[in-house]
Symmetry: C2
C-alpha cells in the first residue's frame, strides 16, 4: 500500500487502536503517539494500546492516549512492528487481526491486512509526518513531539549514517511549529541513570577485542545485570557504544534473558552486514544494526557469534 492509499484507508475508518512493539523505543512510541494525535485531529476516536514494557521516559508522549480497558477498536494499526512476534504479550490477542502496519523494516513479514513499508526511511516517524501532509493535517505541538522523538532517537540525534536530508527538514519543521527539542534531547541523549552508568562501566571493562581490534564483544550474565539493578532500558542500545572506539568495525553484546537464553545485538560499519550475520542465528534487522536470540552457555554463545563476525571481517 502506498502512503496515499494508507491516508485514504485511515480516512475511511474509525475507532483506532495503535499497537507498538515490545521493548518500545522512541520510534514506535513517538510514531504511535503522533499517529494517534493525527487521527484525533481528523475527528476520529483513536487510542494507543498500553504497552506493558513502556519505560517512564516515554510517558510524556502517551499522556492522555492510553486506551481504556472498555475500548473496542474497529481498526487495529501497528507502527514500527516487523513481525507479530514483536508485539508485547498484552497485544498478542490482536495477532492475525491487524488491519494496517506502517513500518520501515525491510524484514516486515506482511502480517497485517495492509502494509506500508519503506526501508529507505530512517524512522517510521517520517512516514507518519507524510501521512499528516497527505491528510492536510496542521501539525500540533504534541504531534511534533512524537515525530521529532521518533526521528531523533532512530538516527542517534542525526548522527547515524541512516540520517537523510528529510530527517533534518522534518526536524526543522517541528521546531518551526514551536517544538522545543531541548528537553527531549536532554532526556534521550544527555541523561544516564546510575544503573546505566554502571552497565556502561561493566561493558567497557569486559570488552573482548579480536580480529585485529575490529571486533569488540561483551557478555552480560543475568547475575551481573541483577547486581547492577539494570532494567531493559538501562541495557538498551549498548552494542553501539564500542563502535565508537577507533578501529572497531563490529560490536556485539550478549545479554542473558534466562537460563541458557541470550539476546544478541550487533552493530557494524560497512565491513560487516549485521543483518546477514544475525540471520545465521535465526535473527535479522538492518545492515548496520541487527539482533538474534541464542540458546546455550553464555561464553559459548558469544564465541559462536564472534567466530561468525570474525569470518565476516575476513579473520578466519
Amino acid at each position: 500500500m502506498t502512503l496515499n492509499e494508507a491516508a485514504a484507508f485511515l480516512n475511511a475508518r474509525n475507532d483506532f487502536l495503535i499497537l507498538t512493539h515490545k521493548r518500545p523505543d522512541g520510534d514506535t512510541v513517538g510514531s504511535g503517539a503522533a499517529l494517534c494525535r493525527l487521527l484525533r485531529g481528523l475527528g476520529k476516536e483513536a487510542w494507543l494500546h498500553p504497552n506493558e514494557d513502556l519505560s517512564p521516559k516515554y510517558a510524556f508522549l502517551s499522556q492522555g492516549l492510553l486506551a481504556p480497558a472498555s475500548f473496542y477498536p474497529q481498526t487495529v494499526a501497528a507502527v514500527d512492528v516487523a513481525t507479530e512476534e514483536l508485539l508485547p504479550a498484552s497485544a498478542q490477542p490482536y495477532a492475525g487481526a491487524i488491519d494496517l502496519c506502517i513500518d520501515h523494516h525491510g524484514s516486515n513479514t506482511g502480517f497485517a491486512r495492509q502494509t506500508v513499508v519503506d526501508p529507505s526511511r530512517s524512522a517510521v516517524g517520517e512516514l507518519i509526518w507524510e501521512l499528516g501532509e497527505e491528510l492536510h493535517f496542521s501539525p500540533t505541538l504534541a504531534f511534533c513531539q512524537g515525530i521529532y522523538t521518533a526521528i531523533a532517537t532512530d538516527t542517534g540525534c542525526f548522527r547515524y549514517p541512516n540520517t537523510t536530508p528529510r530527517c533534518h527538514t522534518i526536524a526543522a519543521a517541528c521546531m518551526e511549529n514551536g517544538l522545543d527539542c531541548g528537553p527531549i534531547n536532554k532526556v534521550f541523549f544527555e541523561t544516564k541513570t546510575r544503573a546505566r552508568f554502571q552497565v556502561e562501566q561493566y561493558l567497557f571493562s569486559h570488552l573482548q577485542f579480536s580480529a585485529g581490534g575490529k571486533l569488540a564483544a561483551a557478555l552480560f550474565p543475568q547475575e551481573a545485570i541483577e547486581e547492577m539493578g539494570a532494567t531493559a532500558d538501562d541495557l538498551d542500545n549498548l552494542a553501539s557504544l564500542p563502535r565508537q572506539i577507533e578501529g572497531v568495525s563490529c560490536s556485539i553484546t550478549l545479554t542473558q534473558l534466562g537460563a541458557e537464553l541470550f539476546k544478541a545485538s550487533v552493530r557494524s560499519d560497512e565491513q560487516v552486514d549485521a543483518s546477514a550475520l544475525c540471520a545465521q542465528f535465526g535473527g535479522g534487522g538492518h545492515a548496520r544494526a541487527a539482533g538474534c536470540t541464542l540458546r546455550g552457555e553464555g561464553a559459548d554463545c558469544l564465541q559462536r557469534l564472534a567466530a561468525a563476525a570474525q569470518e565476516a571481517l575476513g579473520y578466519v
Copy 2:
C-alpha cells in the same frame, strides 16, 4: 556590517587570508575553509592561515587551502574570533590589521575594521552559508563539508539547546548537494581514540560521589595520564561527562599539570555557579563551566574543591 554588505565587500576585494582562532574547533576551521572555497569559487585568490594548533582530525577541511609562506594578502579576514587575543601566536602579526571579522560571539570586541556579528547564530557556518546565498554561489561538496562541520560541531550534532531550525535546514541542503555526513559524524561524534577510551574508563572508575550523589569528582594524576598516553585532546571536556549521570548537579575533574600543580574543570547545572566556585580558588569562567588552578597534593586539592562544591550544594 550586514551580511549583504559583507558580500559586497568580499566581492570588491581580492587576495584573501583567512584566520581561525587558537585551539581551533569545528566552527572556526569549517567556516574558514568554507569561506575560502566560496571566495575561490568567485574567482578570487584565497588561503587559510596555517594554524599551528590544528588537530589532525580537521586536516580534511583545509586540504589545498593552507597559505604558502610567499603569499601576501590584500584582505585579512577572521572567522569565529571574538578578540585578537584568541588568534594563534603565528597570526598575532595580523593583530590591528584585520579587515573583516565574521563571528557569532556577543562578546566580539569589534577589533576588525569591519565586523559581521550575529549572536543568534549557533555557528559562524550559518553566516558563511548565507554569504554563499547572497553571492549566488552554487555550493560545492567541499564548501558543504566545511559548513556542515561548523554547524554540527557547534551544536553537538543538533543536540544542544542552541540548535535552531536553520541548522537543520542548512544540514539538509548540504546533504541534498551530495554531502555524505556519515564520515564527518563518525570523526567528530563517534570516534574515541583508544587513549580517550581509557581516560573515560579511568574517570568513571575513579569518580567519587558525595553530597547525596549531586557531586561527582575525579583526580587524574600525571602518572596515570602518562600511562594512558593521553594527549590534551584526549583529556578535553572530561568534566562534562559525569554531569550526564542522573542526579549529578556538579562535576569536578582535577588534572595534574606538574609537581603539586593541578588544573580543575567544573561543570554544573543551575544548582551551582561554577564560575563563583572557581573564583574562590582564583579561577573563573561561565556559570555552567569554569576552571581554576590549584597547588598542593592532589587528594588535598580535590578535597578543598569538593568541600566548596558541597557547601554550594547545601551540604556542609
